[in-house]
């Protein structure tokens, strides 16, 4: 009787040990697999805000030295805003901020080609400093990929910033 109990206890212990090991082996296998498998991470912003940064790009300009950053934000209410920061260009007559339907306006093409589609955002508020411009609702930002500081009178491109996904 005692022998049967001992034997069954031993059998149970063995089975238990085997069962415990199996997942360990399986885990090892998974670790090796990790080399091939992708590990996806999905951290949120530390303070999940309401406004989103959609696009950003740096200004370049040869003929009229232009520098700074152009960033497109989407506000909580869905409004699109273009914001220029650390911005600097030369002052001039009748200068406007426009979106151009190209990937980038080349420096050498100081003058915009007449057939490129444009979207007016307003008169340049200042040739230096941070400034915001509203982008009309429904603007296709996949198409209008370049911000240009543009002198309407002479069709001159003071500087341009190609926008990239932020």
């Amino acid at each position: 009787m005692i022998r049967t109990i001992k034997a069954s206890l031993a059998f149970a212990a063995l089975t238990g040990a085997f069962l415990l090991q199996a997942p360990l082996h399986a885990q090892d296998g998974m670790k090796q697999d990790a080399m091939k498998k992708d590990k996806m991470q999905d951290d949120k912003m530390t303070h999940e805000g309401m406004a989103k940064t959609l696009l950003t790009g740096k200004f370049h300009g040869k003929v009229h030295a232009t520098s700074g950053r152009a960033t497109v934000y989407q506000e909580a209410d869905g409004k699109l805003v273009l914001r220029l920061t650390n911005f600097k260009t030369s002052n001039g007559p009748d200068v406007h901020v426009i979106l151009v339907a190209t990937m980038d306006a080349g420096d050498d093409a100081n003058f915009l080609k007449s057939n490129t589609e444009r979207l007016e955002l307003g008169k340049l508020k200042g040739n230096e400093g941070d400034q915001n411009y509203e982008i009309p609702a429904g603007t296709d930002l996949m198409k209008f990929r370049t911000v240009s500081v543009y002198c309407e009178r002479f069709n001159a491109n003071f500087g341009a910033a190609p926008l990239e996904k932020f």
């Binding site: 080399m35 991470q41 999905d42 805000g49 950053r69 506000e75 914001r83 920061t85 941070d130 932020f166």
Partner: protein
Amino acid sequence: MNENGKAWLSRKKIILSLIGIPVLVVGWWAFRPEKLFINQKVSEAAPVSLSSEPEALYTGKLAGNAHQTSGRATIYKSSDGKKYLRLTDFMTSNGPDVHVLLVRAEDKALEQEIVKGDLDHVELGALKGNQGDQNYDLPATADLNQYQAVVIYCERFHAIFGVARLEKF
């Protein structure tokens, strides 16, 4: 004769000024040359709903060295003053012992796939995932004026998976 000459001269003057003054005025209006010397400075605040947001300080795009790597690295300062690195649209290959480091942007080693010797760096932690958005806290002592590049680095093989050079946002 003398009288005639004088009259002719003054008529010439009138004609000249009749043509010259409008030309000057139009020229001034068109070119506004005084604007070359006058700056118009503005300083608008960020859109309202942005003011409580973490402020982006630096940003750069990731490019691959030893392994294809893409995405964007941005350093934010949250409202409590803490800085952190955030990777977005991030993708690299998985690997053993991969870390996220801040390094000197001018370090020649960044152009290579395998680093010989030591890389002057600030450790930000083990890579949390080879894909997806992720945040890494920056040590308070990290000097962002000196360390202006982010590197995805395999410590075991000294391999640079990818580099992002940071630019002022």
